[in-house]
Subunit: 235 residues, 2 copies
């Protein structure tokens, strides 16, 4: 979901003049974190993606994933990958207006990853995105971290014309509910609706076990206690 929500929300065909021109294989994707390779594997399923840049601070996570999680880390040898081992903050400072999609696959906001939930990090993300870019970030669990989530979303609403929160079931995560922060630089982009709707056959061919186009929309329907906290009244 962290990978597919922004990638399917981003329109692949771009309108140029009065014609729609398919810009296949033109997506520039950045992953911050994600050292286990799972997000990279899912990003590489999208044939709209030309290049994936990944910035992981801990090289050992990648080495361990390669050794013990071959099914998850299979993307590390892919020709589309540019891999950097270093700090995401520093990387972003040197890359402005470069990426169509940025995905932050961080650990919890305790210790090293705490800064990845702050306003200054989201400012860097915004500036590294192209003007029609979309980002997704690990958004913690509403049952456990609603106060933090509320702050993050409020910050994002100041920085982006379009900032939404989605949820999905992840049984390995504490409490089983995972949140996603999805923001767009383009105020006309509705990230809650996929720009490309998949048939069941396409879902099967992409080997998507959880995501489908209806799940995309339903992920943005929030339980009432979350909606109240984020002040997302019915439109």
């Amino acid at each position: 979901m962290l990978a597919h929500l922004p990638l399917f929300a981003h329109p692949n065909p771009k309108r140029v003049g009065i014609e729609i021109i398919e810009l296949n294989s033109k997506f520039q994707v950045l992953i911050i974190g994600g050292g286990d390779g799972g997000i990279l594997r899912e990003v590489l399923k999208h044939d709209t993606v030309e290049k994936v840049t990944m910035c992981e601070i801990d090289e050992m996570v990648i080495d361990v994933a390669k050794k013990f999680l071959p099914g998850m880390s299979c993307g590390f040898s892919h020709e589309k990958l540019d891999l950097y081992c270093g700090d995401g903050f520093e990387f972003l400072k040197n890359h402005k207006n470069e990426f169509d999609v940025i995905i932050t696959d961080s650990s919890d906001p305790v210790g090293p990853a705490e800064s990845l939930f702050g306003q200054s990090y989201y400012e860097l993300l915004r500036d590294a995105l192209k003007e029609d870019g979309i980002l997704s970030s690990q958004g913690e669990c509403p049952w456990l971290d609603l106060s933090l989530i509320t702050t993050v979303i409020q910050n994002c609403r100041r920085l982006f014309p379009h900032a939404k929160y989605a949820v999905g079931s992840v049984p390995t995560y504490t409490s089983g509910l995972m949140g996603y922060v999805i923001c767009a630089n383009d105020k006309t982009r509705d990230v809650t609706t996929p720009a490309r709707v998949l048939t069941d056959d396409q879902v099967k061919n992409l080997n998507l076990r959880f995501y489908n186009s209806e799940v995309h929309k339903a992920a943005f329907v929030l339980p009432q206690f979350v909606r109240n906290a984020l002040e997302e009244k019915k439109e």
Copy 2:
């Protein structure tokens, strides 16, 4: 969700002739199990409910809930409640065509509650429902019990003209995802859409922390692996 999905899916106003006549306080609800009182408390929030009959096999569960879970068990003293302590199977055999909504709040299908997931139990439920009745049953977790769920839904499709599966986040439940089996005796009834749509103010007045009318619809949007297992192709 186990209580509100069937109760909000059931149309309160009934069409009689060419006029719509409000039949307030006419719902007859049956709860099988639910000894902790949580489902009873939620059912009693509906002013459309005239009487709640509850059949719990283990009286001690009720006593313990009254003693240690006062907030959850507050409905046991309600005047609308008829409480029976006994076997749900036996109770259902003696009650035909009586209830508008039946809710099965059982434990897991291991040991005593195993029979509450079998076809013969669902036959009894069908016969105890009125012809426009709706039932909901604890439907286990798709991450853990997909094979059992598939069998239950297949059985329900043989017994009911309308049988659906829904999911919701329950952090206290193993894996965090809970399933609900929702069936209607009336083939024209679409249980995936609430018959009464609530405003935010109504949700607040009913003290609903999770359910709202959009959550109702989204609950029936299934992850692809569940959809594949239940063979619910896009319509």
